[in-house]
Symmetry: C2
Subunit: 344 residues, 2 copies
Amino acid sequence: MAKKRINMKDIAKEAGVSTATVSYIINKRSDQVIAPQTIKKVEEAIKRLGYVPNLGARALASKHSRLLGLLIPQTEKETKLMFSNSFYGSFLSSFEYEARKKGYNILISGTDVDESYVDVARKRSLDGIVIVGVEIESDIKDLKQIGIPTVLVDSYGMDKELSSVTIDDENGGFLATEYLIGMGHRTIGLATGFLTKEGVNTERLKGYEKALTGHGLPCVGQYVYSGTISYEYGLELGLQLAASSERPSAIFATADILAFGLIKGLKRGGLKVPEDISVVGFDDGFLAGNMEPALTTVRQDVDGKARIAAQLVIDEIEEKENGSNIVLPVSLVERESVRKLVLH
Amino acid sequence: MAKKRINMKDIAKEAGVSTATVSYIINKRSDQVIAPQTIKKVEEAIKRLGYVPNLGARALASKHSRLLGLLIPQTEKETKLMFSNSFYGSFLSSFEYEARKKGYNILISGTDVDESYVDVARKRSLDGIVIVGVEIESDIKDLKQIGIPTVLVDSYGMDKELSSVTIDDENGGFLATEYLIGMGHRTIGLATGFLTKEGVNTERLKGYEKALTGHGLPCVGQYVYSGTISYEYGLELGLQLAASSERPSAIFATADILAFGLIKGLKRGGLKVPEDISVVGFDDGFLAGNMEPALTTVRQDVDGKARIAAQLVIDEIEEKENGSNIVLPVSLVERESVRKLVLH
DNA sequence: GTGAAAGCGCTAACAT
DNA sequence: ATGTTAGCGCTTTCAC
C-alpha cells in the first residue's frame, strides 16, 4: 500500500516547473520548444524519483491508449482461445514483437456470450484491433461504425473497406491438389473445418475444386470432410476413413494440425501413410517436417502475416495509410507424405 | 471522429439521475441501496444509448484496472515471445479463460532492453502479474516492493513470500530417469535448456541425478547437454549424438519440443528411436502421442497450472488470500520411444 | 519558453 | 435513496 506513486505533479515540483512542461518533455513534442536546461532538470527529476507515466490517465486525456486488441477465434465447445493450434502462438509472437517496437501493447481477450468484442474494444479504449480468422459480421460492422481501425486476417470478402491481410488460400488449395494429381492421384479428398461463406477453408476448397475440374476429374461432395480444424477431428476422420472402403487415395487437409490428427487416425486404423493413402497439409508449422512421415504441405508465412497485420493497424491508427488489402504468396513444400501412384 | 462516445453523464441525464447513482448501479454495489425503479430507468437508458463504461477512467478513479499481465520468457536471440513452444499457448488459453470469467483482461508483453516488466506493470496499472518460467531477480524484487500481486509459475526459490505454482519437477526428472533405469538403461543422458539456479530445468536435473545415484550409477556431467529449450537445439544435439561414438543409450529431454527436435536429429543422423537410442520427454503436449515413435514423456497439467495461477493472482488482488505455494503432481506416460534393454 | 486551468470519464466520500 | 463534488494522472488550449 503505502508509498504513493510518483506522478507528474511530483516531477513538476521536484524540477520546479509546471506539469505542462513535464508533459511536453515526456512526449517529446516537436511543436513545443523547451530550453535544454529545463529538459535536463526534468529528466533528472524523473530518474531520481523513478517516475513512470500512467498510460491509463494519458489515454483518458489524449484519446490514445496505445493498446491493440488481438482477436483469436474460440474453440467450438469451450470458450477458450484456440492456442492449441500453434499457428496462433506464432502469430501472437510476431505480432506482439512488431507492435512493441512501435510502442503498443497487446490485449488478448476471448468473448463471452453476453459481451461482444466491440464492447471489449470500447471498454478498454483499444486503439486498434486485429481479428484473425473469424467472421462475426455484426461485430465488424459495429467496429467500423465506431471507427476503430481494424485489420482482418484470413477473412474474405467481409468488407472491402477494411484493411486485411491474407495469403493466397485458393492458390494454396490449388497447388496442393495439382501436386496430388501430378503424383497420379485421381480420387482426392478434402479434410477441413467448418466451411463459412468467406473463410479460408472455403477458399482452399475453391482451389481444390479448380484443380480437380481443370483436369476433368469429378468433384463430388462425397470426398469433402468438414469438421473442425483440430487434431481431434483429424484423428476421428482418419479412423473413420481407415474403416471405410470408399476412400480416396489422397487427402488434402487444410491445416497441418488436422493432417497430424488425420495421419495418426489412419495409422491407428491400420493404414500406412503414404503407402496406403497420401496426405498433404497446410501451414508448414515447424513440426511439419518432423512428423513421420514428414508432411508435404503448403507453406505460409505466419511471421510476415503477423508483422504486416501489426503495421497495417498501426499505420491506420496513426493515419499514415488505410484500406490496404495485402495478399501473401504460398508455396508447396514437398516432403514424404505423398506417394507417387503408377496408373495402370 | 464525429460521434461522441456516450459516457456516464449522458446516461445520468437520460435517466434523470446523478452520475453517482449510475455508477452505483453499474457496479452493483451492495453497500448502496437503490430503488428498483431507478435501476430500471438507468438500465434502460444504458441500453437505449448503447453505453459501455470506460475501464481506463474507472481504473484511474478506483485504482483497479482489472488487467492482468502475463510475462512469458523471450527467446535468446530474438526478443520475440516464446510461443513456438505450445506449452505457452496452452497456458495462455486457459489463463485467459479463467481470468475472463472473473472479469479480468490479459495484457501480453515482452520486454525491451530499455524497459523492465515492472515499468510495463506500472505504466499499464496492472492489477496483478503472472510470470512464467523466468527469473529476473531484480524485477521480482521491484514488483514486490511496489506491491503488485505477483504469481510465479515454474520458478523455484525466488521468493518464498510470493505466491507460486509449480509442478513437481524434481519428481518428474526422477520418474523419467527411474523408468529408463528400469528399462535397463545404464548410460542416460539429459538434454535440457539453460540451467539457471532456480529454474525448472535444474529441478528436473536434480531428479535425474537422484535416480542415477540411487541406483549407484555414475552421474557425470559428460552426458548432460545444456542448450536451449527449442526444437532447433534438439535437432542439433541429435545430429551431434548420432555422429558420436560416446553416446548414452537413452536420453531424457526436459521438454517435449526438445525431444521432438532430438528425435529428428537422431533419425537424420541414421539412428532409430527407440531401437538405437531411447528418448523420454517432458510436458505431454497433445502432439506427444502423435510423434513417431509416440513419445514416452512426463505429463504435466498445463491447464491446471494456468487456472491456478489465475486464481492465485486474482485472490491476492481481491485480498482473499495470499502467499500460497502450490505444487502440482506429474506422472509418466509410457508410449513407444523407449526400448527395453536386455543386459548381458 | 513556460504555466494555469479546464477537462477526459469515472469513483467515493460526504451531504441531504 | 440519491445527489454533489473533489479528485485520479494526464493532455492541451490559451495566456503570459
